[in-house]
């Protein structure tokens, strides 16, 4: 089995001993991340699973430059997140499509920020909308679209400016089960065509396994890395078919046995 981890060449994403602590309103110090280290190889699809509220989103927020680590270093292709801010695309769990912009204007946002010429912007947006099955909706306002369509507009917006690293924070969590599977397939199709580096946070274990090359399991708060699993499922994949592959069940069982105790620990933390 090829171990991308061991190759010394520049990692797309590197986390070295990252700790992130917050001071709460009543002056308590809470650690979200505790000494977290991992590398992601260029073109690799890595999923991070762990209990809700453990600190998975914090990991992505640090890489997007929205938060600074308290200790340790986070780098993107050898540079700080602030320096690499044009390389990163972030798909949030929430709806981030701007309601006051038409679909095409939304898809062009990142290109406007990068000062791309209007004509090229339009071309690129048209291409992305075509790819995401949104052709014909260029001039619609977001409120005229369904939740799944808005999610695709969000994804098109992120892909439009061609980020080399995709950060995805439970991107399909708010969708109904069928739409979610459709979107997972959509994502796989796009990823397999272009092989960007993806860091995908989810609490849906089957989703993590069916999409990723590698699954990182995080512990309850403060989150540490508990275990990493390589996913041995053939590519190209379909999100549904992957679940019926003979290797899926065993892997699911193993990861679940790691994840499960963490869920109960986190639940107790949340109750306290």
């Amino acid at each position: 089995m090829a171990q991308a981890l061991d190759t010394p060449q520049a990692a797309a994403v590197a986390f070295h001993g990252v700790t992130k602590s917050f001071v709460t309103r009543d002056d308590a110090v809470v650690s979200a991340l505790q000494d977290v280290s991992f590398d992601v190889a260029p073109g690799e699809f890595v999923a991070i699973v762990g209990p809700s509220g453990c600190g998975k989103s914090t990991t992505l927020n640090i890489l997007a430059g929205l938060l600074q680590p308290t200790r340790g270093s986070a780098t993107i292709r050898g540079r700080s997140p602030a320096e690499a801010r044009f390389d990163v695309g972030y798909v949030f769990q929430q709806d981030t499509v701007l309601p006051w912009k038409r679909v095409r204007e939304n898809v062009e946002l990142g290109l406007v920020i990068r000062k791309v010429a209007p004509l090229r912007r339009r071309e690129r947006a048209a291409h992305l909308l075509e790819m995401m099955g949104l052709a014909g909706f260029e001039d619609a306002y977001p409120h005229e679209l369904s939740g799944g369509m808005r999610k695709r507009v969000g994804l098109a917006t992120t892909l439009a400016y061609n980020p080399s690293i995709l950060l995805m924070d439970e991107p399909f969590g708010s969708l109904d089960a069928q739409t979610r599977v459709l979107m997972q397939d959509e994502l796989l199709r796009v990823w397999e065509a272009e092989r960007r580096t993806v860091l995908f946070v989810t609490h849906d274990l089957p989703e993590a396994i069916s999409l990723a090359d590698r699954v990182i399991v995080m512990t309850a708060r403060p989150a540490r890395i508990k275990m990493q699993y390589r996913v041995d499922l053939p590519r190209p994949r379909s999100a549904v078919d992957a679940r019926f592959h003979p290797n899926f069940e065993a892997l699911h069982m193993r990861i679940w046995s790691d994840l499960r105790p963490e869920l109960s620990v986190q639940a107790k933390l949340d109750d306290a």
């Binding site: 929205l66 949030f92 701007l98 946002l109 406007v112 990068r114 099955g133 917006t157």
Partner: protein, 282 residues
Amino acid sequence: MSVTTPTLPLEHSADDASLLRQVRAERRRESVRRLVDRVVLVSVLLGAWELVVRVGWVHTFFVSQPTRVIGDLYAVFATGYVLPHLGITLLEALSGLVIGTLGGMAVGFGAAISVRLSDALQPILVAFNSMPRIAIAPLFIIWLGFGPESKIALAVMVVFFVVFFNTFAGVRSVDPVLVNSIKAMGGSHLDVLRMVIVPFTVVWVFAALKTGISMALISAVVGEFVGATAGVGWIMVQANGVLNTTRLFSMMTLLAIVGALLFSAVRWLEDRTLRWRPSAQL
């Protein structure tokens, strides 16, 4: 397995068309009924007013009567007497509205974005806001004289705070995930401002503008009550001096009509500006 992309129906089938016709007819009937109800209600109220005076239950000296008020309104327009006064009152109210709105927006955005500025401004703003600002009118007359300037200043004072507080609240209620989303795309503070904060806050500014209109009009008229040489408020003070209730009622009616027209103008502008919203309320 085949995966089809869900799309919205773009064309209507024959069934859809007939359903559409039916719903449209229903909506039309409803709006006609609403209009009839309103006209009937207003007619009954005006009729009752006219009646109590004609029967002699209340003397016309105190409450005038609808027919006299309408007659007076016609007269002041036919002779052109009211026009320069109306022009001055409108000038005062609109200047105050525009200046107060621009100022309120500027300080509102500034304070919402700079924590330091909002912390520093807070006690002053709270003090001014809890003061009945219209009561500053006599001072403005002393400072700025009997002309339109004192009334404009009064309207600015009143409108500024409404717009300021709404702008401030609007900026503060922007969804942080939208801000983070623009930042994660590599957007600067300026990008966040023009792509998220300003377009979102415009909704709040329009809400303030709609109350601001009547407040500006009230300020202009009250300013004219306190001391003026022209304006609708000045006409009312003159009428009051000779106990001309009909004139008072006709000027109040005129102000109500002007207020309603200005309100519709802002509503129209709002609907045009905020097309992205699912549907304009009310």
